[in-house]
Symmetry: C2
Subunit: 389 residues, 2 copies
């Protein structure tokens, strides 16, 4: 009953989220949002899957009803690439657009962010890798997630693939936050089971890593734990039965997790997932599903004081010893992943064993490693990768 | 253990908060915040109490260090009045200021908002009463709370006393939100015990009313319940022992409660507290302390599904019947108020019994009544007032 709230250590905190709009049918309001931001000609970034499912049409109608012109840009792939973003920026400028709408998963939204960076700042997308490299403000942006992972709609990051180096670049800046995050959970109804599963896993990784991050605060913890709670209730049913309420819970969970990690940053799961995604063009949520349990095993010994709240989020009793609770927490995560059919090994994702040392080296240079609750050497990371293999 | 999360009914929700900065010593960063917002000459709204306590000095030094000029305006009183705000606006324009910093409790921050409205929109402050009457954007604003109530630093409201009608006007608009909410919990160390108590009571009212509001969502619930939890832990110790950690918890609770109610609005406690505050120039937190238990008794029958989560926030077991849990929740609130020495009757605040019908009539026209979970007639409101008398 009496849940001890263990506040995170940081005395100073910042918390910043865009204006958030959430609700069924809300995609019909994208036009009024874009107009409110002062737009006349919308650059709409999405993909063919969403076009075929009818969601792009829904947004186009809303743009027309708001009296806005638009250009539709869908030349993006999963893990959006440098050259796609640069092509998008050229098209934006050619067309004279003045506001960006991103509709899709992390790929469409990160591509929209990359395009926004280039059209106002010029240069090449590589110039902006790292923290606070953006000088000029971006055009107004409305981002509409259609999966239950990513959090790109509320985050201050853009992740773009560098196709030359086969790696993911992280661009961090308050400038890359959307003006409006608009979630319509109805969009999940056409998302294939597999993606419901992998993107919900992404949300779980965001929530757990945000909660354990050394930069976590009460402001982020409340959202992280609510995300865990909603996921533990609706993850498996959402994937297997696809009930509307469960899908809406997964959407909410993704939003809560995004609000948490955007402000507390992440940890080793994402530090490793970025090079793996960059190297193999692998599905981000699948990689997270494989890594999360192993990273949690690594982290748990140093975050025992936060364990009861996480256990509560997962609906796990914590009446025994700390190690018993740790085991129950890990079992709860494992059973969610198993029951939802998530991938469980790096091998099954096509990762080559001989690449593991190089992936560990690259992870050491990823920004996400900085907020891991437990420091890690290359050997530690390699050992995590091997256990996950 | 297994806390049932009962999501609030509204499908569509909006959630909007300013950039938030929180931490000990943060008042030294007000200057860099004001400069970042593009300011050159700061209009600093505060009061003599904070000046004597040294906090205004702290801010002035930070403004000078950031290379900013400033004008200090302290001609405001508790429950800030129409004529004070109008005088402030004249002074702002005379001095050619271009950014506003409000430092204080709700009075200083609401006065700052009122001044900001007038300097960019012209007219009289009465012109803006109600929802969405503001046409032109306000000057950039940094609001720094120095009490543990109010929430004005994160809210989309400004409450100004109409001295002609002796009533509080509520001005509601996304425009009146600060650009930056900056909380330095150290400022509580010089706040008299009485004000720690009454402003923490205000925060508790915000949290409970936001949680029960018909416009509550998971995004607001997580903050409301965290506020209740922090208050239940630190309210009494904060007032009686004034330990630093407890005072910081009260600051955090106020911030969480503000984030909740600014987005879910309030209920009958505030609908009644506004006319009482306007009529008697009474301390807002004291009025809330008297009204909260009576309004909760009125509301509880219609919010039973949310009771377990509130009980959890208050550290109350809910193993018996619903009515037993309701009673335990009310006892928990009562015992917090008693132990902290809050006022417990309207009579003790100088309210005249013969005014109760007029106060009930006025409350019916207050915007806060719209989100009450239980509808109320004038007779219902009068009955609450009489029980609280």
């Amino acid at each position: 009953m009496a849940l001890p709230i263990q506040d995170s250590g940081l005395q100073h905190c910042k918390f910043e989220v865009p204006e958030i709009i959430f609700g069924r049918g809300m995609l019909s309001h994208v036009g009024s949002c874009a107009r409110r931001l002062g737009g006349h000609k919308v650059f709409l970034v999405s993909d063919q899957g969403l076009f075929k499912a009818g969601w792009v049409d829904r947004v186009m109608v809303s743009l027309l009803e708001a009296g806005l012109q638009f250009v539709f840009f869908d030349q993006i792939t999963s893990n959006p690439k440098d050259f796609e973003v640069e092509e998008g920026a050229k098209e934006y400028l050619r067309q004279g657009a003045d506001v960006i709408v991103g509709l899709g998963g992390g790929s469409a939204m990160d591509a929209a962010k990359g395009i926004a960076i280039l059209v106002s700042n010029g240069g090449r997308i590589y110039d902006f890798e790292g923290a606070n490299k953006i000088i000029r403000p971006l055009p107004p942006m409305v981002l509409c997630p259609t999966t239950c992972g990513t959090g790109a709609d509320v985050s201050q990051f853009a992740i773009i693939n560098d196709s030359r180096r086969r790696c993911k670049m992280t661009i961090m800046s308050r400038c890359v936050a959307a003006d409006i995050s608009l979630t319509d959970p109805d969009a999940l109804e056409t998302l294939p089971d597999e993606y419901v599963c992998t993107t919900a896993t992404d949300a779980m990784s965001h929530a757990v890593e945000a909660f354990f991050s050394v930069a976590a605060t009460t402001l982020t913890d409340v959202h992280a734990i609510r995300a865990v709670r909603l996921l533990s209730q609706s993850f498996v049913r959402g994937v297997k039965e696809r009930r509307r309420d469960d899908l809406e819970n997964l959407s909410r969970a993704s939003l809560h997790a995004g609000m948490a990690f955007s402000n507390s940053l992440l940890g080793i799961v994402h530090a490793l997932a970025h090079p793996i995604g960059g190297y193999y063009d692998a599905n981000h949520g699948s990689v997270n599903a494989v890594l999360l349990p192993e990273v949690m095993k690594y982290d748990l010994p140093v975050v025992q004081e936060k364990l009861p709240e996480l256990a509560w989020g997962l609906g796990v009793k914590c009446e025994g010893s700390e190690s018993a609770t740790s085991e129950s927490v890990l079992e709860a995560i494992d059973s969610l992943l198993d029951a939802s059919g998530a991938p469980r090994s790096l091998r099954s994702l096509g990762v080559a064993r001989e690449d593991l040392p190089e992936l560990a080296t690259r992870a050491l240079n990823d920004a996400c490693i900085l907020t891991s609750p437990r420091q890690a050497t290359k050997r530690d990371l390699l050992s995590i990768l091997e256990r996950a293999y």
